[in-house]
């Protein structure tokens, strides 16, 4: 068999296999996805009553206002387009190492900010997930402790009772999947949507 023939055979094999593995296969998966899991397969977008798409259930977004629960610091994207991270077209972690001065400085300013915003919270009680950047920069969740740390602030900003806010938070806690896998988490966007529905606050 000459080399030329072998190259030709390899090319035909590549194209044939591409047709099956990169054509038929993903199309079949797409068909199943669109038939059985349409909403999820298309990104799990959340529509408000007025039709506005306010985000995706699985994609975190930046929150800075006192009346909303805040998610984790995010290293996805950068200023000016995404000053607070959460650029969902540029997912990324901070990739800062454990002995990098920038890591220590960033951590300190995150902790200071959290303590300043949440006066009920004392040094030594700051939940670590609330002051560290996630791997994707799009983490939609925080730990129940990180949500609890913000309850007083949110209640005050919305003139709601602490118990009311606490109830909303507790309703949003998702335990470990099947009781075994992963950690307990709270979806920040869904929680904030609950708040807006329960106790609308006039936009500033």
């Amino acid at each position: 068999m000459t080399m030329l023939k072998l190259i030709f055979r390899s090319l035909i094999a590549t194209l044939l296999l591409a047709a099956i593995l990169c054509g038929a296969y993903p199309l079949a998966v797409t068909a199943v996805g669109q038939l059985l899991f349409r909403e999820k397969a298309n990104g799990g977008m959340i529509h408000l009553k007025d039709g506005r798409i306010v985000g995706a259930k699985l994609i975190g977004q930046p929150f800075t206002q006192a009346k909303y629960f805040h998610g984790r610091p995010s290293a996805a994207g950068s200023a000016p387009s995404a000053p607070n991270g959460y650029d969902a077209a540029n997912s990324s972690g901070s990739n800062l190492g454990p002995t990098n001065q920038k890591f220590a400085d960033g951590l300190k300013s995150n902790i200071d900010a959290v303590l300043k915003e949440n006066l009920a919270l004392k040094p030594g009680e700051v939940p670590v997930d609330l002051v560290t950047a996630s791997g994707s920069g799009l983490d939609p969740h925080i730990s129940p402790a990180a949500a609890a740390a913000q309850i007083d602030r949110v209640a005050q900003a919305r003139k709601m009772s602490v118990d009311e806010v606490k109830r909303l938070v507790e309703a949003r806690i998702e335990g470990p999947q099947w009781g075994v896998f992963g950690e307990s988490v709270v979806n920040v966007l869904l929680l904030n949507l609950d708040l807006d529905q329960q106790a609308p606050v006039a936009a500033k």
Binding site: I12, S91, N100, K108, P123, H141
Partner: protein, 569 residues
């Protein structure tokens, strides 16, 4: 480790052990060419492919022919991927309007996916069109996995054969693996992923107005079909930049658990297949146990280090020092450390947390896993033939100790096999350490660093280790999308893939030719605790002797810096 962590770990190992036999037996039938329950579905397609490419699947190829066909096929499919990447701007399915991939990046990426590495110098959602993802990249997720499995199967076959001329047929092994093993498993797996929330669409990126009124653009795409083969084929190339940390690639703790399992699924079944083919199931399980033990040690060290975390957290006011930097809340510490260990024991390289931000010893575990040649279950195919390499060395050393001709499965191990084995090992070490030295001295290398001093050195060491080991995970603070990095990494990937694969095919050829002698009293048994212990010892010793000096400059020194609160600008 909490009780729940332990429960997950036990569950993980039990499912892995239970799945090994059925999948191993099924693969035995597939690669024998005998009928399986999928033959009515894929048989006609398989025969059509053979006819169109002019292959007689029954032709028994000698190892050299098998190797040449493998190399040419890899080269041609590499060129195909390069062409698609360069032309993506004029090809369809590009709703985000991505431009052409620049030449050095396209070369690096084509080499990366052809060698089953999936090192990514780019961010998927900001560089690749949907067509490039599906055709240029996912194609190699299938092909490189199938090629790796084919080599392992050819090696197993040769160990089981007596006085044989050939080692099998490359085209038949490769096509059968794709059609009967990878494709059906991926389809079922992709449907599971869809149920968990992994996306699958061809929509343009979605603009949304967030609750606070900011604009957010959400990248979309056909993700589920690609994630399935990315994990199952131990490829690891993420659809998105954040890989398996991205909520659209890995949305739930359950999808996380299944993704970790799917990395080890085929490698574990191949070990069973080895035992079955050579009619010594005990040997297969002995190898499996050796792998599981080293795996467990890695998980323990990594998990402990990340829970212990960094003293800076509590010093500045956090309630614990557990290191959540670069980790997702839904996975927590253990869901991240288990993933990091699994993905580097195998040659997968998908990441669900950023290894660059691990504590020094937590990050040492993935690094060392790759340095041990990824034989702890390992990559699909490459893990098994890498392990056979260490078994040959173990048997050889045992033979030297007792002063008898070493034998493996009744076949004499001679100078030829040991030379091929050592060639592969020396090339690995040379590529990792040589390139690391170069990258640490060259200003073009140092320009990429994302972290200072010792940690920066770890980034370089990790990059060339990952490339040579065909892993693809990274200390991702390193910005490698430059000509220097893209080219040196591409060559490291090439050396790591083919200077291990081809020598092992040569070993297959020479082992297949040998006569089988019935084992005597002096034969070193390959199925007991003594063998398991010696095998682990050899793996660790080779790794430690080669890499300890480099490790002590990087993560080990940094560990002490971290403990005494030393930070660097």
């Amino acid at each position: 480790m909490s009780v729940r962590d332990t429960l997950q770990l036990v569950l993980f190992l039990v499912i892995l052990a239970v799945s090994a036999a059925p999948l191993g037996i099924y693969m035995d039938h597939v690669f024998d060419g005998s009928k399986t329950f999928l033959s009515p579905l894929f048989g006609p397609l398989e025969r059509l492919i053979y006819r169109l490419i002019g292959v007689d699947p029954g032709e028994d190829q000698p190892w050299s022919k098998y190797a040449i066909h493998l190399l040419v096929f890899s080269a041609v499919s590499l060129a195909f991927t390069y062409a698609v990447l360069r032309l993506q701007q004029v090809l369809p399915l590009n709703p985000a309007g991505q431009g052409p991939v620049v030449p050095h990046l396209a070369f690096n990426t084509a080499m990366s996916f052809t060698t089953n590495t999936n090192w990514q110098s780019y961010g998927g959602e900001s560089t690749m069109s949907y067509l490039s993802q599906m055709v240029a990249l996912a194609l190699h997720n299938f092909l490189s996995a199938a090629v790796g499995i084919a080599v392992a199967v050819a090696l197993i076959r040769s160990l089981a054969r007596k006085e044989a001329k050939g080692i099998g047929n490359f085209w038949a092994d490769m096509v059968r693996c794709n059609l009967y093993v990878l494709l059906p498993l991926c389809f079922i797996y992709a449907v599971f992923l869809l149920s968990q929330g992994v996306i699958q669409n061809y929509l343009p990126y979605q603009d949304v107005l967030t609750l606070e009124g900011a604009k957010q653009t959400i990248a979309l795409g056909p993700v589920a079909s690609q994630v399935a083969i990315k994990m199952l084929g131990t490829n690891g190339g993420g659809f998105f930049n954040a890989n398996a940390a991205h909520p659209y690639e890995n949305p739930t703790a359950l999808s996380n658990f299944v993704q970790m399992l799917s990395i080890f699924l085929i490698p574990s079944a191949l070990v069973y297949l080895l035992g079955r083919k050579v009619k010594n199931l005990k040997h297969g399980w002995a190898v499996w146990v050796a792998m599981a033990l080293v795996f467990l040690v890695g998980v323990m060290i990594c998990t402990h280090s990340e829970y212990q975390g960094n003293p800076i957290y509590t010093k500045l006011g956090c309630s614990t020092a557990a290191n959540m930097e670069g980790k997702e809340a839904r996975f927590g510490i253990f869901g991240s450390t288990l993933f990091a260990t699994v993905t580097t024991d195998a040659s997968c390289g998908a990441v669900n947390s950023m290894h660059d931000s691990f504590t020094p010893l937590g990050g040492l575990v993935p690094l060392v896993n790759i340095m041990l040649s990824e034989v702890i279950f390992g990559g699909v195919g490459s893990g098994l033939y890498g392990m056979v390499m260490f078994i040959i060395l173990t048997v050889f050393i045992a033979g030297l100790m007792v002063g008898r001709t070493p034998e493996y499965l009744g076949k004499k191990i001679e100078g030829r096999e040991v030379k091929y084995t050592m060639l592969a090992m020396v090339v690995m070490a040379l590529s990792i350490l040589g390139f690391t030295a170069w990258g640490s001295l060259d200003s073009a290398g140092l320009a990429a660093l994302g972290n200072p001093t010792g940690h920066g050195f770890s980034e370089i060491l990790y990059a060339y280790t990952s490339a040579t080991g065909n892993n693809g995970s990274a200390f991702a603070g390193l910005s490698t999308n430059t000509p220097f990095w893209n080219l040196t990494l591409a060559f490291a990937m090439f050396f790591g893939r083919f200077f291990m694969m081809i020598p092992m095919l040569a070993v297959a050829g020479s082992m297949g030719k040998k006569r089988v002698h019935p084992g005597g009293e002096g034969t070193f048994p390959v199925d007991g605790p003594l063998f398991v212990g010696l095998l682990i010892g050899v793996i660790l010793l080779v790794g430690a002797l080669t890499f300890f000096p480099a490790l002590s400059l990087g993560p080990i020194a940094e560990h002490f810096d971290m403990l005494r609160g030393q930070f660097y600008k």
